[in-house]
Structure formats: C-alpha cells, structure tokens
Symmetry: C2
Subunit: 329 residues, 2 copies
C-alpha cells in the first residue's frame, strides 16, 4: 500500500486507538492455564492483516466525535469475532494457508482450532458486555447468529450448480457484510444517539463489506498467489460457487456449462479445468461483472457517507470505499 492509501492514513490518524486496541487484544487473549490458547492466539493475531473491521469501528466512533474509550472494547470484540470465525472457517474449508502462513489447523490440529475459536468468541462476548450497552449487545449477538447462519447456508450450497446470485448475495451479506455493518453501526451507536447517523454508518459498513467480499471472490480467480498470500482457485477447489462462477454457469452454452459441472464433481479438482473455467469467465466477462457489482456497492457506501458529518475521517472513509475495489490482495 502506498502513502496515499486511505487505510494507511486512517491507521496513522487513529494509531493511539489502534495501539490501545492491540493492548486490549493481547490482554484478553491471555490464558495463563492453557499455553495452547496463548500460542494459537499469538499465531493468528501476529499473522496481521489490515484489521479493517475494527479500524472502521474506531473510525466511525471518532468521526462522530466520541471522546470516551469504550470504542476500544468494541473494536477489539469485533476483531475477536472475526478471528474466531477465521479459525473455524479454516477447519471447515480444510485450508492450509492464510495470509501466506500455515493455518492453525495445520500447525496444531482441527480440535485446537475449534476450541480456541470458541474461546476467542467467548472473549469477544466478554468485551462486548464490558461496553455496558444492551442495545449494542443486541446488535452484536444478532450479528453473530447471522454470521453462523450464513456459514451454514454457504456449506449447504457447496457443489450446488443451481445456486442463484440471490442466494450468493444472501450468503456474503451474512458471512462478511454483517460484521462490517455491525462494526460501523455499533461504532456510531456508542458515540451518538442520532438515528440517521447510525443508519447511514450501518449502510456504509454493509456496502463496504459486500464490495470487499465481491472483490475477494473476484481475486480468487484473478489475483496472483504472490499478491494474495493464498492460492488461486481456492473457491473452485472447495466446490464453492461464487459470483463469477455462478454467472459463468448462467451465461455459458450447454457444453461450457457441462464442463464446469463435471469439473466441480472431481475430487481433487483438476488444475487444467480451472484454466478452462477462467477462460469461460473471460469470454463472458463474468470477472469484470463481479467487479462491476463490487463498484456498485462501493458507490452505495460513498452515498451513505454524504449524509454524514464532513470531517477528516469521513473523507478518508469515502476514499476507503473507492480503493476497496482497486485492491489486488
């Protein structure tokens, strides 16, 4: 990311908040009795990532002139939910790498990933409770249920070549956009009682989340492994039907459709098939179409911001919604 990257600018502007949040994360992931928790938590939190969800939460609170410190608890809890989800996702998907390093299920085992995920989720819950707001707890507990529900829906759609774009959108709204939306909604709730501001920040988060996931699913066929720190075609290899593949199945002729269907039946998948499928996607421009859908949500995010107070932070959040579709990793 270069100097003009608005995420880096936000990170710089909010560095005190981020440091406080990282200290809180360190404190809450500690478990004196169980070194395994410590080791796995260290592994997953030190692997980094941009911590985009908690950053948006902190930014929202500050954009609405929040002067107390409960947004730190909130942001840490959002990151704990996200991390717990990653641990369980990697077991469910049998993933072996994430962000360029081996996953916990590979370095330790599935059992540890499941139980440490449960621990981190419980810690998230403790952090939320310490914000002392029942309204915020209501949003976050509902969000957790929606995330789990859509993960189950995603699992039950694995290998279903009839998966519709509507079902796909429902899945990504639940598994990804819900937590982005909760991050900005609760960041606003803790700072303000202005219902319009809260609603606009909620919409901003949801739209950013949808755009983010659409680009993720685009990059899974388009990005280079070096860029992503993960391999290409993960979704294809997991028989997971995402936007570009669903659209290719819709637009392809009967022989192309048959090719995709047959290739999805093979276990393990044939890398030659992946190349052919990407060619079909290029022919029907379904990757470009995925990016267009992401752009649509980015512009919805920008529109939500127009109704919010103008300041340094909302300006940077506007730039975030623009660059989210430009990312290549």
């Amino acid at each position: 990311m270069n100097d003009l990257d608005p995420i880096a600018e936000l990170q710089d502007l909010l560095k005190d908040d981020l440091n406080a949040m990282n200290d809180m994360i360190k404190k809450m992931m500690t478990s004196e009795n169980t070194p395994t928790i410590q080791k796995i938590s260290n592994h997953i939190f030190s692997a980094g990532g941009k911590k985009l969800r908690p950053l948006l939460c902190l930014a929202t609170a500050r954009a609405l002139d929040y002067t107390e410190d409960k947004h730190i608890l909130l942001a840490a809890s959002i990151e704990f939910v996200h991390t717990a989800t990653l641990l369980h996702d990697d077991v469910v998907d049998e993933s072996s790498t994430r962000r360029g390093t081996k996953t916990a299920n590979i370095l330790w085992n599935n059992q540890s990933s499941i139980l440490v995920g449960d621990f981190l989720f419980s810690r998230a819950f403790q952090l939320m409770v310490s914000t002392d707001s029942l309204e915020i707890l209501e949003v976050l507990s509902e969000t957790s249920a929606v995330i789990a529900e859509s993960e189950v829906l995603q699992l039950s759609e694995v290998g279903n070549v009839s998966t519709s774009t509507e079902t796909y959108m429902k899945i990504i709204e639940g598994k990804t956009a819900a937590l982005f939306s909760a991050a900005t909604q609760t960041g606003a709730m803790i700072s303000s009682s202005n219902l319009e501001h809260i609603e606009n920040f909620k919409c901003y988060g949801k739209a950013i989340g949808l755009s983010f996931q659409l680009i993720d699913d685009y990059l899974d066929y388009k990005g280079s492994p070096a860029d992503m720190g993960k391999s290409i075609g993960d979704d294809f290899n997991n028989t997971k039907l995402t936007f570009p593949l669903i659209s290719a199945l819709k637009k392809g002729d009967s022989s192309e459709k048959k090719l995709i269907e047959n290739s999805l039946l093979k276990e393990p998948k044939d890398p030659e098939d992946l190349i052919k499928i990407i060619r079909i996607m290029e022919k029907y421009k379904t990757l470009e179409e995925t990016k267009t859908a992401a752009r649509k949500w980015s512009s919805i995010a920008s529109k939500s911001l127009q109704k919010l107070p103008k300041n340094d932070i909302t300006q940077l959040l506007g730039k975030v919604s623009e660059i989210i579709v430009q990312r290549s990793s």
Copy 2:
C-alpha cells in the same frame, strides 16, 4: 428413574416453566433460510437428556420466589450453551454416539456440527442479552470463556500420563461445573439481590456439577453400555485421563503403571487392555475413590442449601444432591 426421583418431581413441579422454555428453544433454534440448522437442532434437542442445567436454573429462580418470566430466557440460554458445547465436543472427540443415537457429526459432517454449534452459541448469547441484565451477562460471558479454556486444557492433557488430580479437577470445574454453577448463580441473580443467597446457590451448582462429572467419569469405566446409551471406556479410547485412571497410575506398582502407559500409546486401543486396567482400578479401589470424591461434593452441595430458604424446591434440590451420586446412567 422412579416416582421418588427428585429430578422427576422437580420437572413435574416446574412443568409450566419447562414447557415455556421448550417453546423458547424451538423458537430460537429456527432458521428459515437454512434447513440444515433446523434439522441438526431438531436432532440434538429431540435426543432429550434430562435438561438438568436449565432445570436447576428454573428451580433456583422459583426457590427464591421469582414471579416474572425472564428465568425462561436464562434457562433456554444455558441449554443452548450446553448443546453448542456438545456439538463441538463430539467433533473434537470424534464421537459417533450420544444418548444412544448417532451424533450430528456422523449423521451430517464435522463442518455442519462446528457451524451449527456456533449458531446455537450465538442464539444463547441473544437469549442472555434479552434478560436485560448486564450483571448476568458478565457471569455468563465469563462462564463461556472458562468452558472453552478448560476444553483446550483437557485437549492439551490428552495422553499425558503425568496429569495430576489437581489439573483434572481444574478441567472438570471449567468444562462442567462452571455451567451448573452459572445456571444456579444467574437463576438466583435474576430473582434476588441477596448476595448470600446468590453465593450459596452458586456453590450448590458448582458442587453438583463436580459431583455429576466425577460420576460420569466413574460410569465410563463402571456402567453398562445399555445403561448409558454410550459405550464403556470412551475416555480410555480417547486417551483422556480421568480421576479413576489418574489414581490408578499413582497407586499401581511399576509394572501396572507401565501396562497403563503402554496401553494408552496404542491406536486404536486394545479392548483387552481396558479389561486389565479396570482390574487394576478394582485392586486399588480407584473407582470407589472417584465415587467418594463425588459424594464429598454432593455433601458440599447439601450444606450450601442449608443456608437457603426452606421450601418445596430447596428440599427437592437437597434430594438431587443425594441422588446425583447414585445414578447409573
């Protein structure tokens, strides 16, 4: 269980509360979009069980003359936490049967069990939030973390022949007694602000939980498969060191100790070894010793009750603490 069983008597006395709780469970386990959740939840809740934890929560509230209905939400949330834990435990232990029926991880798959467990845990969290009590949420979120923490500790002690009785007690206090204790503590908190009552009910729950788990670990070597709806020697087969085995390792001579250690190294375990180990346990009376430890905790539970109001319910709770060590299934 016969007519004089105090658990059956409590169930009868509190049948309206239990019905209301079962309705709440049905409502909250519903997921319109994801039939898999519905099916797995149906499977696990209809498999039954005595629902002892929520029963103790309801009983506690009523023993302290609670007249509102938030104890229903609380009891349902306790059962959801328990059920979510069972789903994850069965994946971690690779169990194939529970209460005489096939487990969800066998009927569906590990992935579904993990994600539906997460969903039920989120629902538990939603139910807790709807009690509108931050003090109760603090106890229950802390309890969830303690449960997960001790499950990780248990996992990291698998196969460790040096596991001490202290570590074993720490594990069962976390994985079992914590939820029993939270059930009675929060049942008291929702009904009363008398700190002594709350503390005594908390102690009662913890002691019942410890007694219950000690008997469980005793029955795993002593009960008959027909009684338990599960097979004998599960803990041995999972290389899980529980009280009777830890004590046998401490008391056995060097050749007996060697036999146990070698048998724990085999995968799969040898049923002949199990017979030999049970013989060693009988020689040193370690099963009887486990029951004695359970009896000690039962009498601590009874003592906690003596400081509480005398009524039909506390009388029955006193009987529960007596019969908990007599159960054979």
